[in-house]
């Protein structure tokens, strides 16, 4: 284990940051960056957009947020293209080689096999997390809590899709407030290796600092081996987490 983290670098890919950045999802990038920099790490963020190539094996952590329908359709089409490098295959190989991914909402759906809208053609995903999504009859809007084995995640869900977890992935946790993946089976989010997906905006990471640190630890381990992140003064983050959780129970 390195004696000090200072000078270690972390490479983040912000997938389709221009198109898929709705509901404050870039707050997750901010939280990852700040909490890494506060530990003396050097962070680089590369925004990878439509028509751009992704360097194989380069990034430690991929972030993929949600977007409007129009943008999500354009992004799904770009992910299916093979003429400018196969981004789906690049990310899939990276996840198999211990890279980390956080995907939210539309990004979560596109990390799965497909999203089937009410009308219009099916959007193919890149099939990294074994989930499928389809348009549902209702929109799930509200504060939400997912209880995972490692701790609670609190955020805000806003989706009409129903997502179902297949045998090749594990539910990320149990939804204790809100609808979670589909409002039916009680599951919230999904994970495969170090790729995580869920519907929580909020932004998710700033007020769930334990999860941010888990992602950072796993991302650093890919190239730098096991690291232990020194603790930070998280009073404000904990207060926000607790008040958001109380708000979730009060408004459910």
């Amino acid at each position: 284990m390195p004696a000090t983290l200072t000078g270690l670098d972390l490479r983040i890919a912000f997938l389709y940051g221009a198109e898929m950045n709705i509901y404050g999802d870039r707050g997750n990038i901010i939280a990852l960056t700040r909490r890494a920099e506060w530990r003396g790490l050097a962070v680089t963020i590369e925004q990878v957009g439509i028509g751009e190539r992704l360097t194989p094996g380069y990034h430690d952590l991929y972030f993929f947020g949600g977007g409007q329908d129009k943008e999500q359709i354009a992004v799904a089409a770009d992910l299916a293209r093979r003429d400018n490098g196969d981004k789906g295959a690049t990310i899939r190989e990276a996840i198999e080689a211990d890279a980390v991914a956080l995907t939210i909402c539309g990004g979560y759906q596109l990390f799965g096999h497909h999203y089937r809208p009410h009308n219009g053609p099916e959007l193919p995903g890149i099939g990294i997390i074994d989930v499928t999504s389809e348009a549902g009859p209702d929109r799930f809007i509200g504060n939400s809590i997912i209880a995972t084995p490692d701790g609670d995640l609190v955020g805000f869900e806003n989706h009409s899709a129903l997502t179902f977890v297949g045998p090749g992935a594990a539910p990320f946790g149990t939804v204790t407030v809100g609808a979670g993946n589909n409002g039916r089976d009680g599951t919230g989010g999904a994970r495969y290796r170090h790729a995580y997906g869920c519907y929580l905006h909020g932004s998710l990471l700033p007020k769930n600092p334990w999860f941010t640190d888990l992602l950072l630890t796993q991302a650093l381990a890919r190239r730098h081996g096991p690291v232990e992140l020194p603790p930070l003064a998280d009073d404000l983050e904990r207060a926000a987490h607790n008040s958001a959780a109380r708000r979730a129970w009060a408004t459910r």
Partner: protein, 490 residues
């Protein structure tokens, strides 16, 4: 005489009276609900009775201020104006306002209507009222859990304006590519475009132009070909002198242009307006002659330059003279809560509503730019964030605001409200030194406000930036402490 309409107006009046007697506050929408039940066509009938026609004002930001400006200019010019002044802008709120300003026989106490419309309600309102003018000011990302996605609103607006008669003229912000897309199918002579003209590049003021699209702005895409737009000048969010490198689509030349914008801190702004003289609609009564005149607006911030320009375009379209516009705006006071000054315990409080990322960005830009922009914010500031329906239940939008602008400067930053703790975290992650952040717990706003005000030296100015329901709550506390008046008495 229309007995059904009279019954509806009686019902509205009785509801208003009952609300006043039981002291349930302004009672802004319930009378509309009653009137609508008694006569579903009441809104259409009252709108049609406005002899001078109506103006419906839509847009994510600035619609209350802009509608207020137009009403003030018309009023000072001697026109009798019917206006939903309280900002109650859903279908029933508009109906309630028109009902309250009409005789029981259905005759409005005015000849022109100025109607502010909520984005989601705008299609229904314009379909019922059939206004002479529709002013489209901007489309920004709002609290999306309330309205659905921006494209969806643009699509509904496009459908609504397509159904209107040829004698409805659109007054459109040419700097907003989404709005130009909304009205692109209409004949050019039915549209009056307004927009800003860039200063000489050498004289560009950082408060007037942006180097990059703010994070709150949606990816600006061409409504014609879907390509990424580029800007010759970018003024505010995605508003600017835009063009599409892929297909050649570009900002239409504005008929009403703002130049030489000067911002005077948190107090006022000035600009010069040029009407190019090209705007004439199929309706022959609408001719805007060439003119050029200075405007002084006693409101701060670049966003209010857009509001003033929009109001000017509307007033000119109603046939008013440049002189009437200038004098109408000179004595303008802000709409409720948008920008207010009150005194409390020897401190001056400037209250500025923040309701979505773009609005928040613009208020921060105004406050930080009020002093020496390089020194950052020097004035103590309290941010009050609620998450009730009218605020947007999802506070994710705080992460789309560029609070990084507050990382410079020494000013203490207080956070309060139901989601004050989220705001405190946002400030910390924006790079604000934790020692500058005073996080007040939710549910203790009165104590938090007093603590905040008393922490500032006597004679100081402080800023309070609340979301909508936080503004109502804060104002209620300030009223209680003797610092402000009830809004419906203004």
């Amino acid at each position: 005489m229309d007995p059904r309409l009279t019954l509806a107006l009686l019902g509205a009046r009785a509801t208003t009276l009952a609300a006043r007697l039981t002291r349930r506050g302004g009672g802004t929408a319930a009378p509309g609900l009653v009137a609508e039940r008694l006569d579903p066509a009441a809104l259409r009938k009252l709108g049609a009775a406005l002899a001078g026609g109506a103006l419906v004002v839509g847009g994510t930001n600035g619609k209350t201020t802009t509608a207020h400006m137009v009403a003030t200019i018309l009023d000072k010019a001697g026109r009798r104006v019917v206006h939903n002044r309280s900002g109650s802008n859903l279908v029933r709120g508009v109906l309630a306002a028109l009902a309250a300003q009409s005789s029981l026989g259905g005759v409005p106490r005015g000849d022109v209507g100025v109607i502010e419309a909520d984005e989601a309600a705008l299609p229904a309102i314009v379909t019922a009222i059939r206004p002479r003018f529709i002013l489209l000011n901007n489309l920004f990302r709002d609290q999306l859990d309330r309205y659905g996605e921006l494209d969806h609103i643009a699509t509904r607006w496009r459908a609504a304006v397509a159904t209107l008669d040829a004698d409805t003229t659109l007054i459109v912000n040419a700097d907003d590519p989404m709005l130009v897309g909304v009205t692109a199918a209409l004949p050019r002579e039915r549209i009056i475009y307004f927009g800003m003209a860039a200063a000489e590049p050498a004289a560009v003021d950082r408060r007037l132009t942006l180097d990059v699209l703010p994070h709150a702005a949606d990816a600006a895409t061409c409504s014609r070909c879907g390509g990424r737009l580029a800007y010759r000048a970018l003024y505010l969010s995605h508003l600017g002198d835009w063009f599409c490198p892929a297909c050649g689509n570009a900002r239409p030349a504005p008929d009403i242009v703002a130049r030489d914008i000067r911002l005077d801190g948190v107090k006022a702004l000035s600009l010069s307006v040029e009407a190019t003289g090209d705007a004439s609609a199929v309706n022959s009564s609408l001719v805007i002659r060439h003119s050029s005149f200075p405007l002084h607006v006693p409101l701060p911030g670049l966003y209010n330059a857009y509001n003033a320009l929009a109001a000017t375009a509307a007033a000119l379209a109603f046939g008013l003279s440049p002189g009437e516009v200038t004098s109408g705006l000179a004595g303008f006071t802000a709409a409720f809560g948008r920008i207010e000054r009150v005194a409390l315990e020897g401190r001056e409080i400037v209250l500025a509503l923040v309701k979505n990322p773009t609005g928040f960005n613009e208020v921060l830009r105004m406050l930080v730019g009020g002093g020496d922009a390089d020194a950052g914010l020097a004035t103590p500031t309290m941010l009050i964030i609620n998450d009730l329906d009218a605020d947007g239940r999802d506070v994710s939008w705080l992460w789309d605001v560029d609070f990084e602008i507050l990382a410079w400067g020494e000013a203490p930053l207080h956070t309060a409200g139901i989601r004050g703790p989220d705001m405190a975290v946002r400030l910390k992650y924006a790079g604000v030194a934790p020692g500058r952040i005073a996080a007040h717990p939710p549910g203790e706003l009165r104590a938090a406000l007093l603590d905040f005000v008393r922490a500032a030296p006597a004679g100081a100015t402080v800023y309070i930036l609340p979301t909508y329901t936080a503004m109502l709550e804060a104002r209620g506390i300030l009223v209680d402490l003797g610092a402000a008046r009830d809004f419906w008495q203004q």
